[in-house]
Amino acid sequence: MKASWDIFCSVVDNYGDIGVTWRLARQLVAEHQQSVRLWVDDLSAFVPLCPEADATAAQQMQQGVEVLQWPGQWQSVDVADVVLEAFACKLPEDYLQAMKARKKPALWINLEYLSAEDWVSGCHGLPSLRPDGLKRMFFFPGFGEGTGGLLREADLLARRRAFEQDPQARRAFLQGLRVFPESSARLVSLFAYENAGLASWLDAMAAGSVPTHLLVPQGRIMGDLLRWLEVNELAPGRVEQRGALKVQSLPFVRQQDYDHLLWSCDFNAVRGEDSFVRAQWAGRPLLWHIYEQEEDAHWVKLNAFLDLYVKDLSAPAAQAFTGLWHAWNAGSDMAQSWNLLLEHWPEITAHSERWCLQQSLQADLAQALVLFYRNWI
């Protein structure tokens, strides 16, 4: 059944909001044959993820999705069957009035943030009644039963396996980014917010016995990286070597290429929500820089995920993994915890793949949303 969807995305900072909604919109169209309008209030944040897009266009079709500039002055439009506000962004008042006036009620969904905390399953799918009679449903992504699952295209793992089994594809992809790693080098990607712990991690990799090739897409970590390298700039493609560590900056890549980057690396440092989920689907050891929250609320969320993730690791490996994540998110010394993690590398690598497969057994977020709508009508 083809339903119409209006997805509203307010770009607050970075690429998380647009990253998630663009991915979801594409999947609803491609896999569930839904008709999707994606309203974005800042299209300049969309263009890096979809270079074909025009940041000034009021309306454009991209990969089957109708992408629209969310105007400051709202103009009346027909309300869709499903209205999805991402991360509690506020819908235009006129649109709410149109929802109220709609003969056949629209399903209004607030897509919430990802968290591994226990309370999520108790809140997922619950309604929120407004004094004016409109009802909004809370939809929580998550890692287990009773949650909305994670964004994952149906063929994602098959595509990853095909890529992994084709060394030429990996080589070609990396060459396209002007990356030529030594065969013995450990390939690491780094996408993070500013982090005071970076210097100690780079020191540890530079002093390591195994060569490391660090790939850094453009982003907020660049300042810390340049300071450590003692250079003023690192143009995309350029390589700097310090001891056993080669550092190479990369251009900002589209989502599909970012997946290829994650699949090409042995270890991925990621941040926020979207890249965090993609790194899990890469089935490689990962390091998450969580979005910092007031009153240290992010530590509760970080530890909730860690509790879940390390459950099936041996105690020493779990301790090493947790220690590295804690050090990174505290911005503290990384050297000891990085070296400790390396001691448990085979176990943690195997676990990363197991975790990926285990998570892939639950319905993905887009599928869960479509089902939610079907059950609702």
């Binding site: 509690a88 309370w119 309604p127 929120s128």
Partner: protein
């Protein structure tokens, strides 16, 4: 008006002209500094109950309620009888109507509570901000800590469990803050 963040047990909000009593409210930090409040609501006209989630900044119309001072008179099964301290009128509430404060209600308590009335009907009670309760059971001090920072589990007479300072002993009276669901404040002088 009340925001989602301000909802607490005993609040009554108006939804589509019906009054709904908040029986339980759990505040949780969501992502990127937003928060949600999970509530258990009871329709005061129909008795229908439901669970509802609000964003912390959602705006809701609250209902002005009458409040009177009352004390617990006695408990009989799931029925809790409170007495108006001014005119001695007796009012009954079911356990589920006071679910949020139930862990700190016990026979013999002398706290002066705020009884909340909607159209002359008692719908809920609120405990004072600080209450004093006796520890019925706790393990001995493990580390001899006197700072109050090391905590251990303890049980009250009605079976409620909470964390108390390591130096607290069986029979001690403790102060509890009821605003956050009941947390240990310190040892009470009785």
């Amino acid at each position: 008006m009340k925001t989602g963040k301000e909802l607490k047990p005993g609040t009554v909000i108006k939804l589509e002209n019906d009054p709904w009593l908040v029986q339980k409210a759990e505040f949780t930090k969501s992502g990127r500094n937003s928060a949600i409040m999970k509530t258990k609501l009871k329709n005061l006209l129909t008795g229908y109950k439901t669970e509802i989630v609000y964003s912390a900044d959602d705006k809701l119309e609250d209902v002005i309620l009458d409040r009177k001072e009352a004390t617990l008179s006695f408990i009989s099964g799931d029925t809790y009888t409170f007495m108006d301290t001014t005119d001695y009128t007796m009012y009954e509430l079911n356990a589920e109507d006071i679910e949020a404060v139930l862990p700190f209600i016990e026979e013999g308590m002398t706290d002066v509570c705020e009884a909340i009335f909607f159209e002359e009907r008692l719908v809920s009670v609120e405990l004072p901000t600080t209450i004093v309760r006796q520890v019925d059971y706790t393990e001995g001090s493990a580390r001899g800590d006197t700072s109050g920072k090391v905590m251990k589990p303890a049980k009250l007479k009605n079976g409620t469990e909470l964390s108390v300072a390591d130096f607290v002993e069986i029979g001690d009276w403790i102060e509890i803050d009821t605003r956050d669901g009941g947390s240990y404040k310190g040892r009470a002088k009785v």
